[in-house]
């Protein structure tokens, strides 16, 4: 009898448990389903630019209730590498530095996006060739372009008119001649207004942005450096040094010491102390904000006199975005990366806000892009098939830094024999890449 009673109590308890579970489950299940995945995105932008990015992400957030996106700004490559190493990397990372793609893809620090792209039928062909190149390394596409930086010539129309120049230079000879004509010196020979400052290291003047205009090549098919073998490098460096010497190297250094910071309202071009300048497309927005009355124009960089066909092209690099290894929400992270990098509306919004070049072929001609004659120059340079970028190697930014190091020695007269200097530089670059890969890696 006691056993029967115990069994009845046990059955009743079980029944209550089942009913309770059944009653609670309808409430619990929707909660579990609707709990959005929290994604964290690290980007390099800060201040006003960060708010533009956040606005675009907020739109994505609104249309995708399954995720909430937290954006963190002011991130650089050191922070990205440290976080990946510590296993605390966010779901999505973005870097201003496309030069380090070799580091991220080569080490597996950022995951290969190719399988995800194939699954969603995203073809790399939707991006221009240069951006396709700087988002992969050795065939591993671990990044996608998120807006590009394109470089061209800014010229001051008021100073041009005063000097009797009617159009921007198209060849290096014209650039040198115009630079000399536009330069104003003090009685003691110091430079008051420079027609053009050719010093490597000044503002945006780095070798890779110049060599495009000479059609120069960096490496042969085996990945070996060929700076001493490609005559374009000798031609560019000789041209550059002759213009530096015309000014006097020390005169230019002294001139630069008196100029304002590049990213301030006292930027030399904006302040009228430079008649022409090599700069990125973002300067359009800076001028609009800081010196809206400046009478200026934009044009592609002049090219080597022997290669007029290169006119219209330019140098491209830009912001990249990817997914760090060991991420917990790869599917959601990929959906966000895909949206930001391939959706024409998102790219147009970012481009309008940041005044950087939108990175797909379709977005470059999107009607959503705010029309601006100054900015349009850079979109044309971006879509020009002859536009190039710098080599992506295992050494990352150290590769181009070494070339710049050589150029700064050269312009200061520290390199006695250019050809033997370039031969030595080739060896150093090859050794650098070999060292970055580590022995035994082809």
């Amino acid at each position: 009898m006691r056993r029967v009673g115990t069994a009845i109590v046990a059955l009743a308890a079980l029944a209550l448990l089942v009913v309770g579970a059944a009653m609670s489950s309808p409430r619990a299940t929707p909660e579990a389903k609707s709990a959005p995945t929290k994604l964290t995105v690290w980007v390099g932008w800060s201040a006003r630019e960060l708010s533009v990015f956040k606005r675009v992400v907020a739109e994505y957030d609104k249309n995708n209730p399954n995720v909430t996106v937290d954006v963190v700004g002011s991130i650089n490559d050191n922070k990205i590498v440290a976080a990946i190493r510590a296993g605390t990397a966010p779901d999505v990372v973005s870097s201003f530095n496309s030069y380090n793609v070799g580091v991220y893809c080569g080490t597996g620090g950022w995951i290969n996006l190719a399988p995800l792209m194939a699954k969603d039928h995203i073809s790399a062909g939707m991006f221009p060739a240069a951006t396709q190149y700087y988002t992969q390394y050795n065939g591993v596409r671990c990044a996608l372009p998120l807006l590009a930086d394109t470089y061209g010539l800014y010229y001051n129309k008021t100073l041009f008119k005063a000097a009797g120049i009617t159009s921007p230079p198209k060849t290096m000879s014209e650039l040198a001649a115009d630079a000399k004509k536009l330069t104003v010196r003090s009685s003691n020979g110091t430079v008051k207004v420079a027609g053009f400052d050719p010093v490597i290291g000044f503002y945006e003047n780095v070798p890779e942005r110049w060599i495009t205009s000479f059609g120069g090549k960096w490496q042969d098919a085996n990945g070996n450096s060929i700076l001493s073998k490609d005559p374009a490098w000798t031609k560019w460096l000789t041209w550059q040094k002759s213009l530096v010497d015309w000014y006097g190297y020390n005169n230019l250094v002294r001139f630069q010491a008196g100029l304002g910071d590049e990213f301030s309202a006292s930027n030399a071009f904006e302040a009228g102390k430079l008649a022409m300048n090599l700069d990125g497309e973002w300067r359009v927005a800076f001028i609009q904000a800081e010196h809206p009355n400046l009478n200026y124009g934009t044009a592609p960089m002049p090219v080597d006199d022997a290669h007029p066909e290169l006119y219209g092209s330019g140098y491209i690099n830009g912001t990249i975005i990817g997914i760090p290894k060991n991420g917990k929400h790869t599917a959601e992270a990929w959906a966000l990366v895909k949206y930001l990098t391939t959706n024409s509306h998102a790219l147009a919004e970012l481009s309008n806000g940041l005044r950087n070049v939108p990175t797909t072929k379709a977005s470059a001609v999107s009607p959503e892009i705010k029309p601006d004659a100054h900015f349009a120059t850079f979109i044309k340079i971006f879509t020009n098939p002859k536009s190039t970028t710098s080599p992506i190697t295992a050494a990352g930014v150290a590769y181009t830094n070494l070339v710049q190091h050589f150029a700064t020695q050269w312009q200061a007269g520290q390199v006695k024999n250019l050809h033997s200097g370039l031969v030595s530089l080739d060896k150093q670059l090859d050794a650098l890449v070999h060292q970055a890969k580590g022995p035994g890696v082809p």
Partner: protein
């Protein structure tokens, strides 16, 4: 007395001895445990912050390690690149040697000179002492920024003043011939800490030694040469060792000065590595290059090899100075 009775008397004594030994050993272990317990904060700190990084650094120096992929053993490859292929390393070594050879003696001479002058001040010694010491309190970054702005070739007050005198001032931090001397100037300006140590040492020289020397007819220079300098020689040794080690580790001022003097962006907004050593590698010191390889090129294995070389050189140089010091450092105290 039978043997058994003797043995019977000895047994308790032997047992007692064993017990005492055990108790003593136990007490000794307890003492050791207590000592270890008191030492444990230092032991943990030493192991975590010194021993482990040192051992790891030595290990990584034989590895290819880019911070993202696991370390890969490469034997002596990093050292081979360091001694045979790195195009900037010898420049960095030369710059570092230059700094040590020029800055350390100048700092010691300047600090000693200031200390001697302060001992002779009749009025306002406290004020002067404070004035000369104050720069040592300025953070290195702030002090360097101030120096770069003061020595700006166009807008800096030094060159503006020289301009009024009809002299075109040098390019200072923008000129490879003037950048290191400018850093030396910065080093001399912040010499307060060594000056205070010298001041204490000079004031500590027994007065009777000067009186004896004076009675022997020694003039001011001779008193300085034969009394002051030998007496404070241990302090000079300390200043030399400290200066040399600081010279081998010279980083902050060079890093900040190069970045500010270069004053431009490089290939990417957050990459400043290309400005390290500006102008023309003249401020590229060994620790700056080590930082560049480790933290901007992400070659931590190679940077570890550089760190190992720096450690070996620091150790060797310090050893040489200390061994050599026996010839010129006067140690006070009873004869041994």
């Amino acid at each position: 007395m039978s043997q058994s009775s003797v043995a019977g008397e000895r047994l308790p004594a032997a047992a007692l001895t064993v017990d005492r030994r055990r108790a003593r050993r136990k007490a000794a272990w307890r003492r050791r445990g207590l000592v270890a317990l008191f030492m444990s904060p230092w032991l943990v700190g030493f192991t975590v912050f010194f021993l482990y990084p040192l051992v790891m650094s030595a290990y990584l120096s034989f590895n290819h390690y880019d911070l993202l992929a696991p370390p890969r053993w490469v034997g002596w490859a990093n050292y081979h690149y360091l001694f045979r292929q790195d195009p900037q390393v010898w420049t960095a070594i030369k710059n570092t040697l230059w700094l040590i050879v020029v800055l350390v003696p100048l700092q010691i001479a300047f600090a000693f000179g200031l200390a001697v002058m302060l001992t002779r001040a009749r009025m306002g010694a406290g004020v002067f002492r404070t004035v000369f010491y104050l720069p040592a309190l300025a953070p290195p970054v702030a002090a360097t920024l101030a120096f770069v702005y003061i020595l700006n070739p166009v807008t800096g007050p030094v060159n503006v003043l020289l301009g009024h005198l009809g002299i075109q001032g040098p390019l200072w931090f923008q000129d490879p011939h003037w950048s290191k001397p400018s850093l030396v100037g910065l080093g001399l300006w912040g010499v307060g800490t060594i000056m205070i140590i010298f001041l204490a040492a000079v004031l500590d020289v027994p007065r009777q030694l000067y009186e004896s020397a004076e009675l022997d007819g020694a003039n001011t220079f001779q008193r300085m040469r034969w009394v002051t300098l030998p007496t404070i020689s241990p302090v000079i040794l300390f200043a030399v060792v400290l200066g040399v080690i600081q010279g081998l580790q010279y980083f902050t001022q060079a890093y900040v000065a190069a970045g500010v003097a270069a004053g431009q962006a490089s290939q990417a907004a957050d990459v400043t590595a290309v400005n390290l050593g500006y102008p023309q590698d003249s401020t590229l010191f060994y620790p700056v290059l080590l930082y560049e390889h480790g933290f901007t090129d992400f070659q931590m294995g190679y940077a570890s090899a550089m760190a190992m070389l720096l450690l070996a050189v620091s150790f060797a140089v310090t050893l040489v100075i200390i061994l050599n010091s026996k010839r010129w450092v006067h140690v006070a105290g009873p004869a041994r």
